[in-house]
């Protein structure tokens, strides 16, 4: 067990130092690509948070960008207008998003599938529509000049924390209860799972991390507007989750990185990019709906030749 952990830590450190060297120290990876690395990191957080709600708990939520917006705006207001330092501001932003998640979740989580989807979509639009009309946060122009406090170290830290928290949550009794809701809500309830409670937990936790992603986004891309958080963004995140595999943590991570870079490669193509995207999405849905990983996880251990306890690694299948 110990050996496995050390290897994981080493790999994580390697990634951190590697990117750090490549970007800040040597400048091998120029600013253009740096943007994408940061965006990828933020998207990892967003994808994981959405996967928690949609992939693991089976609740179809379409307004995720709304939570991101709350985190972004609240944290920006904290740092810029209330003089609160970066990390607390980010946490406050995330908590605000979580609160909104609770408020929205309470009435909508008892709705069935499609209705829940539309309700969350509606809420996302309402949040955006309201933000446009609030002058304190800049209305339609948004907030500009947000201090660029999201460094690689900060981002990396938050990404690792997000992955750790979500992974630990999922691989625990509480996570299993969420999954049971997805697999068979009626049976779960009859087996003693308080489905309303756990749906709300998943929803709020997802909202929390979405807010976190939003806060980090705001403090890197220094400008946020209502148009940053449209349904298109929610859909973007959903695509990452679906392509990576609903219910797979590694899938979301890989897909988030992949989609971010795919977007970057195709950015000059304008509307054609979206056409390709949409076609790709439809084809994947028809021919491989389980996405890249399905519900499987990528096991570094098995890859590197460590033998786990019997079939323990198969548990996540």
């Amino acid at each position: 067990m110990k050996k496995k952990n050390i290897t994981t830590i080493l790999i994580i450190l390697a990634i951190y130092i590697g990117v750090f060297l490549l970007t800040d120290v040597t400048g091998i990876i120029g600013p253009y690509y740096q943007v994408n690395i940061f965006l990828a990191g933020i998207n990892i957080i967003l994808a994981l948070s959405l996967n928690l709600i949609v992939g693991f708990t089976g609740q179809l939520a379409l307004g995720h960008a709304g939570f991101m917006a709350v985190g972004a705006y609240v944290s920006a207001v904290c740092t810029m207008k209330l003089g609160i330092p970066f990390i607390p501001a980010v946490v406050v932003g995330a908590l605000a998003a979580m609160l909104i998640g609770l408020v929205i979740g309470l009435p909508t989580l008892r709705l069935r599938g499609d209705y829940l989807a539309i309700a969350t979509l509606g809420f996302g639009e309402i949040i955006r529509g309201l933000v446009v009309n609030i002058e304190y946060v800049g209305g339609a122009a948004g907030i500009n000049g947000i201090p660029k406090k999201t460094t690689w170290t900060m981002l990396f830290l938050f990404v690792i924390i997000t992955i750790a928290v979500i992974k630990n949550f999922i691989n625990s009794s509480h996570g299993k209860m969420c999954v049971s809701i997805r697999d068979n809500e009626v049976a779960a309830e009859i087996m003693g799972v308080n489905t309303t409670y756990y749906k709300t937990v998943a929803f709020s936790l997802g909202a929390f991390f979405a807010g976190l992603g939003g806060a980090l986004y705001a403090h890197y891309f220094f400008l946020i507007q209502p148009t940053t958080f449209t349904f298109a963004r929610s859909f973007d995140i959903l695509v990452m989750v679906v392509l990576g595999g609903l219910g797979s943590i590694t899938g979301s991570i890989l897909a988030a990185i992949g989609v971010t870079f795919l977007n970057a490669v195709l950015v000059d193509f304008g509307a054609i990019r979206m056409v390709i995207y949409a076609l790709l999405l439809i084809l994947v849905m028809i021919f491989r709906p389980q996405g890249l990983m399905g519900t499987k996880e990528f096991n570094l251990q098995s890859l590197l030749g460590f033998k786990g306890r019997g079939g323990k690694n198969a548990k996540n299948n």
């Binding site: 709705l111 309402i126 949409a278 999405l281 849905m285």
Partner: protein, 344 residues
């Protein structure tokens, strides 16, 4: 100074009050109604809101509502039959609008021919979408189909942007606009608006006839109740589903052409918002229920017109979605809907 809303609510209670004080039912129901109309009128005039403006807004709302109703019908029929929220429906409207534009502006067809042409093109589009994107997923999870539907919508929108260009095209004034004054100038209505009403009502009557009095309509209803049983009865389920899509798409085309005429523009993204709002209308009235789509459409149109007229156009969209949330929480089955229990 009380807000509009406070006064409006006050008026409602005033209504109730009046009801109680003139308690005698035998005495002049007519008098009561006349009294209420007088009060209502004076309320509006008193606030400096002219009756003309109010009615103009209501008529705007009804026009808009008709369009929503036409689109909502398509949504509700498809949902009723395969429980799918066809996100691409608004974009089929766009296809119809562009087909109509093409027919009128380029092929110089007369308006009604253009309308028929648009219906044909949209019908074909609807058929293809169902056949290629949704039918393969008939047995898949809800999420999968939903995502595919969104994908199709994005495909059509962006495909439109690529092929048709991002600029707004001017829809020619195929029918010259004329205004009519009714009731001593209290109501102003244009022939366009009358056209929209007329066509919408005609379409609805036609649809009701088809659904309730023809064999195909019967088959459609059967499939929406129980697909397997219908198949066992010898009904060509796939064919019926395709037919539903085609009919819905044709209605969307009508809506699209009317929209194009009304606002005199067409644009690849023109179906997005109307589509979404028409969906709200369908849910409002009761998704899967045809009269519900009509009711929801008109209601939503009026609400939207009043909100943008008397409050602010900024709040138009949030209010529409707020209405959606409200109905989903209070009565998810919609105003005309019935609650279905899940089988365990």
């Amino acid at each position: 100074m009380q807000s509009v809303w406070e006064q409006f609510i006050g008026l409602l209670f005033f209504y109730v009050d009046m009801d109680k004080s003139t308690n005698r039912t035998c005495i002049n129901i007519g008098f009561q109604v006349k009294l209420k109309v007088m009060i209502f009128k004076s309320f509006i005039v008193e606030r400096g809101i002219s009756l003309e403006t109010f009615l103009a807004q209501v008529i705007n709302g009804l026009s808009l509502g008709s369009i929503y109703a036409l689109i909502a019908l398509g949504y509700t029929m498809v949902y009723g039959i395969i429980q799918l929220i066809n996100f691409a429906h608004g974009d089929v409207l766009m296809i119809g609008a562009f087909a109509g534009y093409f027919a009128v502006a380029i092929l110089k067809m007369p308006f009604w021919f253009a309308m028929l042409f648009a219906m044909l093109i949209s019908g074909l589009a609807g058929y293809l979408i169902e056949r290629l994107a949704y039918r393969p997923l008939r047995k898949s999870a809800r999420l999968t189909v939903l995502i595919t539907a969104i994908g199709v919508s994005l495909l059509l929108e962006n495909g439109g942007l690529v092929v048709l260009g991002a600029d707004y095209k001017a829809f020619p004034l195929a029918i010259v606009k004329k205004s009519y004054l009714l009731f001593d100038g209290v109501i102003t209505i244009t022939n366009h608006q009358l056209l929209i009403f007329g066509v919408t009502i005609a379409m609805m009557v036609l649809l009701q006839y088809i659904v309730n009095y023809t064999k195909i309509g019967k088959a459609m209803r059967a499939v929406s109740y129980d697909k397997e049983a219908a198949a066992l009865m010898g009904i060509n389920v796939d064919g019926i589903i395709s037919t539903t899509f085609v009919i819905g798409s044709m209605l969307a085309a009508v809506a699209g052409v009317l929209l194009g005429l009304y606002y005199q523009t067409v644009h690849p993204l023109m179906g997005l918002m109307p589509g979404l709002k028409a969906f709200v209308a369908a849910v409002l009235g009761g998704i899967g229920i045809i009269p519900g789509a009509m009711l929801g459409g008109f209601l939503l149109g009026i609400v939207e017109a009043l909100v943008s007229g008397y409050w602010s156009t900024n709040f138009r969209d949030p209010v529409v979605f707020g209405l959606l949330i409200l109905i989903l929480i209070i009565k998810p089955a919609g105003l005309l809907g019935k609650h279905m229990k899940e089988k365990v």
